[in-house]
């Protein structure tokens, strides 16, 4: 492998990681933008999403990596699995908001944030105690297609992940920018009081933010499984922490910022592993975060959060 091949290969690795982190970062950012709440339950909604995807794929008779699908059956299975997983995690997100966080909305202090940490641990332990602690072999029906670019290898799996992540992010951008509910979300994010006075149903907007964020976490759980061919009850913390860091790096509350932050963290992880050593990946990632925040406290693209007067 030449240095260029190596650069290319690590860029491919980094972009795939980045796509996953970006989808996770969006969930943090959507909720923070409206409620100024860091939703730690998001970590494990992602993890639960990967298990829902695992069970859905098993309903199609897919176990391990032995059954390969192509063409329409593959598209059909993926479409159904993405839909089921995203709906299910979306509903979990809405449930968390409606029953556990709404009663605390007007409580000052960290009660809501602590609740989200509690919910995170509850989800974590439910999965641990019901499915067990060992790593699960994640079904993967994708054909093992790949093309060589010099010495680097680009697999179908990576291309698919980039396409799906890009489509989901475009859809979200369209929703936030162009639809009525999206406009209501932006208005609430700017000034909830004024938005309410103008007739925006703030409760509905908040539920939408939780639904969308959690659905994206579900999608990213499924992508995680397809990418690594495994899942376990443990995956939430590491990926979630990086997703959260990506959101802060890009500017929390800022949707394009979350995407940018995700990509940067993914690339830093890949190139840091190459140049310095994988053991140092976390040190590098968080050192960059600290440095960026020292010079740009609002993150790269600026923080967007409600104006409280």
């Amino acid at each position: 492998m030449t240095t260029f091949d190596l650069f290319l290969q690590q860029a491919i690795n980094g972009l795939s990681l980045g796509a996953m982190y970006a989808l996770l970062a969006l969930g943090f950012t959507l909720v923070y933008g409206i409620l100024e709440l860091i939703n730690f339950s998001h970590f494990n909604v992602f993890m639960v999403g990967s298990f829902i995807a695992l069970w859905t794929l098993q309903q199609f008779g897919l176990f391990g990596q032995e059954t390969i699908l192509v063409g329409l059956p593959l598209a059909g299975v993926l479409l159904v699995t993405f839909t089921v997983t995203m709906l299910a995690t979306g509903v979990i997100g809405v449930g968390i908001e409606r029953f556990l966080l709404r009663p605390l909305r007007d409580v000052k202090g960290p009660a809501a944030m602590i609740t989200t940490i509690g919910v995170s641990y509850i989800l974590f332990n439910i999965i641990l105690l019901t499915v067990g602690a060992d790593s699960k072999n994640f079904p993967n029906p994708l054909p093992p297609l790949q093309i060589a670019i010099g010495g680097a290898v680009l697999r179908l799996r990576e291309v698919l992940i980039w396409i799906i992540a890009t489509l989901l992010m475009l859809a979200l951008t369209f929703f936030v920018q162009r639809t009525k509910l999206g406009r209501a979300m932006r208005a609430t994010a700017q000034d909830p009081e004024a938005a309410r006075m103008m007739g925006v149903e703030v409760d509905r907007v908040i539920m939408t933010a939780f639904f969308l964020g959690s659905a994206l976490a579900g999608a990213s759980g499924l992508i995680f499984g397809l990418y690594y061919n495994f899942t376990s009850f443990l995956i939430g913390f590491n990926a979630g922490l990086r997703g959260f860091t990506a959101a802060v790096l890009g500017g929390i509350g800022n949707v394009p910022g979350a995407m940018l932050g995700g990509l940067i963290i993914g690339l830093v992880e890949a190139f840091g592993g190459q140049l310095i050593g994988s053991a140092w990946a976390d040190v590098i990632i968080f050192a960059i975060l600290v440095l960026v925040l020292v010079f740009r406290p609002a993150g790269l693209l600026g923080r967007l959060a409600p104006n409280r007067s």
Partner: protein
């Protein structure tokens, strides 16, 4: 329907019930603490292993092998949910609990060296001997570290396996000859066992002229090893050696199969695990080498009777660690038997001394005797390779084919 198996289970259950009941109140109960990582990535192995010891105690009780003594197993779990595998803090807590329970006169375990390092100073202070059937980090029994791991002086950490001081180096020899590997990349999983094993391997590799192209550390909780594997691919070693257990091992097997499929891959007893077969599965695990620090005996016709009894009792196939654990339990039984025969009082100190002095000629592992540090006197490292056998269950330990003994360092 009363099958032979259910009849056996019923009989064993009855025997235990009677034994534990007040009807035989004259018998002295000797409690044995069994500490393994029952929660987390190594749980399947933990259960399989512990059952070897449990079976030995059940059979000794059923046969009234030691007159006036009933053995009672008390399980301790050093795995924790937050660690996802063994947790040294939990292991230390378990050691304290065992020491404070006066009825516990000996212990079996732990499974993991990281747990062993946390437990041994506490067990030493309580003068409670333990026999580990699996933990292989050499520091714990090394006299150089006696002040740290056995502050009270006497050896309390006995093993029915050899240590990584042999496991890593002997595997380096095996890679060089017969596998004729000339260059290698070394990884570990940041744990006490993994780092020690990889260090010992690397030292011997350098000594015998195997070129070590690099060394890196995996975070067992991270999901993505593509960056480090891509780096390894660019360096082009002929072999990869991994010191670590299955939590990182599962992901390493999966991702290395995709990124560096043609590199020879080897690990220690941490990769001798059905958790690996289940979590990573074929084809990713095909071709991996793994070692154990004990002679390979489950294919030995001498063991057929034990394997059948184990299978009848637990409905799974035992592996070599079920045997090392059975032998550990037998050592405790022999030690107590010796004390009773000599009409000496069965105390912790006496049991420790009796374990130290045990000379078994015909254990399932062959002759067993300990040196003054608690290590086995005869040390054998067996090498296995995973080769898919469609006729057996794909998650059975039988997928590991015995390929020989690794040359001594």
């Amino acid at each position: 329907m009363l099958t032979r198996r259910s009849a056996f289970t019923a009989a064993a259950g009855l025997a235990t019930a009677f034994a534990a009941g007040p009807a035989l109140g004259a018998d002295k109960v000797v409690k044995v603490g069994v500490d393994m990582s029952f929660t987390g990535a190594d749980s399947t192995d933990a259960i399989r292993m512990a059952n070897g010891g449990i079976l030995a105690f059940e059979e000794a009780n059923a046969a009234h092998e030691v007159p006036g003594i009933i053995f009672q197993v008390e399980k301790y779990d050093d795995g924790s949910a937050t660690a996802g595998q063994y947790d040294p803090a939990q292991a230390a807590t378990n050691a304290r609990k065992m020491v404070s329970d006066r009825a516990i006169l000996a212990a079996l375990g732990p499974q993991m060296s990281g747990a062993g390092k946390a437990m041994s100073p506490i067990l030493s202070a309580g003068n409670l001997a333990t026999i580990t059937p699996a933990s292989t980090n050499p520091d714990i029994t090394d006299p150089k570290f006696a002040a740290q791991y056995r502050p009270a002086g006497k050896a309390i950490y006995f093993r029915t396996v050899a240590t990584d001081a042999y496991q890593g180096p002997n595997m380096a020899n095996y890679l060089a000859q017969p596998l004729k590997v000339r260059s290698v990349y070394v990884l570990d999983d940041s744990g006490a066992y993994g780092v020690g094993l990889a260090d010992a391997f690397q030292k011997q590799a350098e000594k015998i002229g195997l070129r070590v192209l690099g060394r890196d550390r995996l975070d067992p909780k991270a999901a993505d090893y593509a960056a480090v594997l891509t780096k390894i691919k660019s360096l082009g070693p002929e072999a990869l050696y991994y010191g670590g257990v299955s939590q990182a091992g599962v992901k390493l097997a999966k991702q290395s199969y995709e990124i560096i499929p043609n590199v020879i891959k080897a690990g220690g007893d941490g990769m001798q695990s059905t958790d690996l077969l289940v979590g990573a599965g074929f084809p990713a695990v095909e071709g991996w080498y793994a070692t154990i620090s004990a002679p390979h005996v489950t294919d030995d016709p001498k063991l057929a009777a034990f394997i059948r009894r184990y299978n009848d009792r637990f409905s799974v196939q035992p592996d070599d660690f079920a045997v090392t654990c059975q032998v550990g339990a037998r050592v405790i039984i022999e030690a107590v038997k010796e004390l009773v025969a000599d009409k000496r009082e069965v105390t912790r100190a006496a049991v420790r001394d009796a374990i130290q002095a045990v000379q078994m000629q015909d254990s399932l592992l062959g002759p067993i005797a300990f040196d003054e540090n608690g290590d086995l006197r005869n040390k054998i490292i067996s090498v296995f390779q995973i080769r898919k056998d469609e006729s057996k269950p794909l998650d059975s330990p039988e997928q590991y084919r015995y390929v020989g003994v690794a040359p001594s360092a």
